[in-house]
């Protein structure tokens, strides 16, 4: 039977489509296997980089492995914990709030006493030139959180200046800094609420053993 006869058969187009679908799915599966570890490594590297940015100093544990998951203000929050001499000295977690054009996601580092070590906006889609001044490359604004805590700055003052708080807003853009300040405040309240559980040296959270067993 030659190709011409085959093409005339009723099932031929379906078989061709099916065959090509099979081949391409095979190619995709192979590509997925081949790139899986490289992509995971690259994402871990990104994560580590953003962790070290909000967590200056040196810590003895692998932050990516030492995590606890707690119910937070919006869904579950994964908290990365940094240890020195076997004690948790600082934690890092993600917070988010609605900005001008979608969610503004930030990573914040907090030490034992609830003092902020650093904040970085890791994902946003704010207007370039206005709202994107929350990026450290564009403006120093994001550093104004460093050293602040809810003990030193009262909860009412934890807002942009327009709302009677202590944080600057940008000319022409109040919504973005307001969102960041709001999410950071929420993060600090979350920390205050969960402080005991977050800082427990060998935490067993809600019956789930955390990955901290190797730390005494």
């Amino acid at each position: 039977m030659n190709l011409e006869q085959l093409r005339g058969m009723f099932a031929y187009p379906g078989a061709v489509l099916g065959g090509i679908g099979l081949l391409t799915s095979g190619a995709l599966a192979l590509a997925d296997r081949a790139t899986l570890t490289d992509i995971k490594m690259a994402q871990d590297r990104d994560m580590k980089l953003s962790l070290t940015q909000v967590l200056p100093g040196h810590y003895e544990n692998d932050l990516l492995k030492d995590t606890v998951t707690l119910p937070g203000p919006d869904g579950e929050v994964t908290v990365y914990r940094a240890c020195q001499k076997g004690h948790v000295v600082a934690v890092v977690f993600k917070v988010q709030a609605r900005g001008y054009a979608g969610p503004v996601v930030s990573m914040m580092g907090v030490d034992r006493d609830g003092k902020m070590l650093g904040v970085r906006v890791i994902k946003h889609s704010e207007t370039p030139g206005l709202g994107d001044k929350v990026e450290p490359a564009k403006s120093h604004w994001i550093h104004s959180f460093e050293g602040k805590s809810l003990g030193e700055t009262s909860a009412e003052k934890f807002a942009v200046k327009k709302d009677g708080g202590v944080f600057d807003q940008f000319a022409g853009a109040t919504i973005t800094p307001r969102a960041v300040v709001k999410s950071v405040k929420g993060g600090l309240l979350f920390f205050a609420r969960e402080r005991v559980r977050l800082l427990a040296d060998n935490a067993v959270i809600a019956g789930k053993p955390s990955a901290t067993k190797e730390i005494p």
Binding site: V16, T24, D32, A42, D46, P128, G129, L130
Partner: protein
């Protein structure tokens, strides 16, 4: 034969340019041309997909029946784009952070399916691949031009962050044309893309008209001398 390839090259780069003549692929064109570097990156990724998709489509052209050709082409193109996507994510992760969002948009670029349907399914693998390459380069040229203009007017720089795309040895491309420029936001925002594209389209029309005039003048000029 070489005449054919000259024509393919001319078509792809200028006469039948995806953006400036066919006005296809507007979605990625508007989305990524905020800077010359992003335009270049998107153009090169699209070129890779175009060459591969044209070659594959030409390869299967005798096997596939007309009834199922469109789904087959779409499956092929979507697979290629996914391969490029995971490849860049794994091996050029910094570039992926810049372009990642847009790579998937190549599937929505009707120019890729357009070339398969209008050209690749009718010819052999080599001319199909050359057509993909030339169309892709023309697309890259258009995106880089639009991106460059928007970047210069909008931010005063040209090829900022080129080292992310091409490696550290290309950081010499990164220039600040207007130091201390406050920026003209409109051109970075989506309307800037439409404005720049509109002016470029008008410019190409004028240029083509002038060239046609000159051609007519050249061919008609010797006639009176002879007569």
């Amino acid at each position: 034969m070489s005449n054919d390839y000259t024509r393919i090259a001319k078509d792809g780069l200028w006469n039948n340019n995806i953006v400036f003549a066919q006005i296809l692929g507007m979605c990625p064109t508007m989305a990524v041309t905020g800077s010359a570097t992003n335009g270049l990156g998107m153009g090169l990724a699209t070129t890779a997909v175009l060459v591969a998709s044209n070659t594959l489509v030409s390869m299967v052209r005798n096997v596939v029946t007309p009834d199922v050709r469109i789904p087959v082409y779409i499956v092929l193109i979507a697979t290629l784009v996914t391969l490029v996507d995971v490849g860049i994510n794994a091996w050029a992760h910094d570039l992926y952070k810049v372009l990642g969002l847009y790579i998937a948009l190549i599937v929505a670029n009707c120019a890729v399916l357009g070339r398969a349907e209008a050209y690749a399914q009718k010819v052999g693998m080599l001319p199909a691949a050359v057509d993909g390459l030339m169309m892709g380069l023309g697309f890259t040229f258009a995106l880089t031009t639009i991106g460059g203009i928007r970047e210069v007017i909008g931010g005063g720089t040209l090829f900022a962050n080129a080292h992310l795309l091409l490696g550290p040895s290309f950081s010499f491309l990164e220039t600040t044309l207007i130091p201390g420029y406050k920026g003209y936001l409109l051109f970075i925002l989506p309307p800037g893309g439409f404005l720049v594209l509109g002016f470029l389209l008008a410019g190409k029309r004028i240029l083509d008209k002038r060239m046609a005039h000159r051609c007519v003048a050249l061919t008609s000029a010797p006639a009176p001398v002879a007569g």
